[in-house]
């Protein structure tokens, strides 16, 4: 198989109409978005530490680098809108409103976790925030999210469903089956494809024919592509597509071009055989979603650096308190093992 060189990040310069659109949004909203992205970044940094210091059972798939996608999309949703997430799901869960303490508790297999310690990193679900579950089967959320959209339509509840998945999920047939039905039945759903370039340990082009955008287009689904590192663009585009779906105008497909800073999972340290260190540094140093937003907030919206620093301090405190809560929280009672097999 021919090796194909992955693309370098190509930041899209926002044109003046986009700048105007971004400027119409309150600075408080952008600061909240900044806080949410930082929360995910620090959360994942801490998860990595927990793994490296052998305090976390199992593995985790870190979302660092992709924060703008989860936050940009989830900020466009209402609390009772639905999401389905993936094995790389911590970012989606936090962005939809999960609390860091119960997230950490779940990752450590503790009773106080969102799933009482029975789900772990790849299965965090929280119906209170509309999170129908992270899923360890690639594209496993496709049926669930589309079913939730059908249910919203049947119940006339006005809820929209968002199905997050990586570009690797485009290899799964079930995704095309449900997109076909979503298009036929005009279901209120947004398919968010996070193209982080790597399906596990393989550059996606090596296993993906044609253009990503052509696939939803085959079903007549409106497909758009954005710089997934620019949360301003993700957020405003998601808002437009979500409200379109809510109005009953059918599903949309949003490709967010992004980058996975860490390996496929925390244990994937030596990555030289599938991607170059220089490439990683390029994305990290020149196209980081958090730095990009911070830079714009300072330069274009007059936000003081001290304000950003104070948000950072507050988030660090929340993360520290959350992980300490989880570490000292009790494990489930052994009697839990056979509970909740059946409702």
């Amino acid at each position: 198989m021919n090796r194909i060189t992955p693309p370098k990040p190509t930041p899209k310069i926002a044109d003046s109409s986009e700048e105007t659109r971004y400027s119409r949004i309150d600075v408080e909203q952008w600061l909240h978005i900044y806080e949410q992205m930082l929360k995910i970044r620090f959360f994942e940094d801490t998860v990595n530490e927990l793994y490296k210091t052998a305090r976390m059972p199992g593995l985790a798939h870190l979302y660092s680098g992709e924060e703008a996608v989860a936050v940009g999309v989830c900020e466009a949703l209402k609390p009772d809108d639905y999401i389905t997430s993936t094995h790389r799901g911590h970012g989606h869960c936090l962005a939809k409103g999960a609390k860091v303490d119960r997230m950490f508790a779940e990752l450590l297999g503790k009773e106080a976790g969102y799933c009482r310690g029975k789900g772990g990193s790849m299965h965090i679900a929280d119906p209170d925030t509309g999170n129908l579950g992270a899923n360890a089967i690639v594209a496993g959320g496709g049926g669930i999210a589309t079913g939730a959209a059908l249910s919203s339509k049947m119940r006339q509840s006005g809820q929209v469903a968002v199905c997050f998945f990586g570009e690797g999920a485009l290899g799964q047939g079930v995704l095309y089956e449900v997109m076909n039905m979503a298009a036929l039945w005009k279901l209120p759903i947004l398919y968010v494809c996070e193209n982080n370039l790597y399906t596990e340990y393989t550059f996606y082009r090596e296993v993906t024919a044609g253009e990503l955008k052509d696939r939803p287009a085959a079903f007549g689904i409106l497909a758009e592509e954005v710089d997934g590192q620019d949360v301003r663009c993700v957020y405003t585009t998601a808002m437009r597509l979500v409200e379109r779906a809510r109005r009953g105008e059918g599903p949309a497909f949003l490709i967010c071009n992004t980058y996975r800073y860490h390996g496929h999972h925390v244990g994937d340290i030596n990555r030289g055989y599938y991607r170059a260190k220089e490439e990683e540094e390029l994305w990290h140093d020149q196209h980081d979603p958090i730095q990009m937003l911070a830079g714009w907030l300072s330069a274009a919206r007059g936000v003081q650096v001290s304000m950003l620093a104070s948000i950072e301090n507050q988030v660090r405190g929340e993360i520290e308190a959350g992980v300490n809560f989880a570490i000292s929280a009790p494990f489930p009672d052994p009697s839990e093992v056979s509970q909740d097999v059946y409702a």
């Binding site: 969102y114 129908l132 049926g143 669930i144 589309t146 079913g147 049947m154 079930v174 089956e177 409702a343």
Partner: protein
């Protein structure tokens, strides 16, 4: 349930003779009238009413919004059913042939079955997967299998195997009201068979075996299509003065172990019949329940009679060899009773 028992349990109700298909259709219609969250999705379920014509008429009453024709995308519409179930609906997903369970097992076994447990009890998937079983329809290897062992193996699923119109109606209504994923498997050959069903609503509980015929010399535990085979064998055995008790577990999970064990303790002998492949199958599980629970009361080894361990062949002379017949059951029973 035997005719006598239907009469005894429903002394004041008018009994009618209806087909298995009608019983299924009545259960669906009653539940759809009772609960607006119940809907049907699957291939050719609307105008066609499925190839087995089980659903005819439901479209007229409930409309295409609740009797939804899906494309030939079993994993897709099954997954959509699961998502709808997790968000307030009660879908009945029609999986035309049991063989297609192979296509949808991710949605059933990895998604629906596990979501309640994985979410620490916070999400649930109240959904029914209606599908079929049974060979001897000359439909060959991919439209004839009886795969009830697969869902029965998965914690989180319940599995129903009705053998009469009465059981089908009462158990399907229970399945739709259950808060868990239920795999409801109908014998294709049974759809036109008739039985007594009371007027009006009733439900039947899961996990309660039904004694289809009382006896004292040998227990024949039989599921679904094998119940009629066991009853026919029991008739033959009666002529030989061997009194056979026929027990239908009706649900493989939850399983009424007690009734199976008590019967085997009483008779001292047992044959287990199921149309699934014999190896690692439902017969193996039920036989082990009896062997463990009635060990000191048994006068003979518990025998299994499942389908022959071959892909179901097309040619009638071959296909008929793969499923146990009343004569074979009678032979086996005679042997266990020391009458050969």
């Amino acid at each position: 349930m035997s005719t006598l028992e239907v009469t005894r349990n429903n002394p004041t109700t008018t009994l009618r003779e209806i087909t298995f298909s009608q019983a299924v259709r009545e259960a669906l219609a009653e539940e759809m009238r009772r609960d607006s969250s119940v809907f049907i999705i699957g291939e050719d379920v609307a105008e066609a009413g499925t190839p087995f014509k089980v659903l005819l008429g439901l479209l007229d009453e409930f409309g295409p919004e609740r009797v939804i024709d899906a494309p030939i995308s079993e994993p897709g519409f099954t997954g959509i059913g699961v998502g709808a179930a997790m968000t307030g609906m009660r879908p009945v997903v029609d999986i035309m042939f049991g063989d297609f369970l192979a296509l949808v097992m991710d949605q059933i076994a990895n998604q629906a079955a596990k979501i309640h447990y994985m979410s620490g009890g916070r999400l649930k998937a109240p959904i029914v997967f209606r599908t079929t079983l049974g060979a001897t329809r000359r439909a060959a290897a991919q439209h004839s299998q009886s795969l009830q062992a697969w869902p029965s193996h998965i914690p989180g699923l319940k599995v129903v195997l009705p053998s009469t119109p009465y059981d089908a109606k009462g158990l399907l209504k229970t399945a739709i009201r259950d808060d868990n994923p239920v795999v409801f498997i109908e014998d294709k050959l049974m759809h036109q068979s008739k039985g007594l069903v009371p007027e009006g609503e009733y439900t039947l509980p899961f996990g309660v075996a039904d004694i289809k015929r009382s006896g004292s010399d040998i227990t024949l535990v039989a599921t679904s299509s094998m119940v009629q085979v066991a009853l026919a064998a029991a008739e033959q055995l009666a002529a030989l003065e061997i009194s056979a008790e026929v027990i239908d577990p009706r649900t493989t999970f939850p399983l009424d172990k007690q009734t199976l064990i008590e019967s085997a303790k009483k008779t001292g002998r047992a044959i287990v019949l199921d149309e699934g492949y014999e190896r690692y199958g439902v017969t193996a599980e039920l036989a082990s329940v009896i062997a463990e629970g009635a060990f000191y009361y048994l006068d003979a080894p518990v025998k299994r009679m499942g389908a022959m361990d071959v892909p179901v062949p097309f040619s009638p002379v071959l296909e008929d060899l793969t499923v146990a017949s009343p004569d074979q059951v009678t032979q086996m029973a005679k042997m266990l009773c020391g009458r050969v």
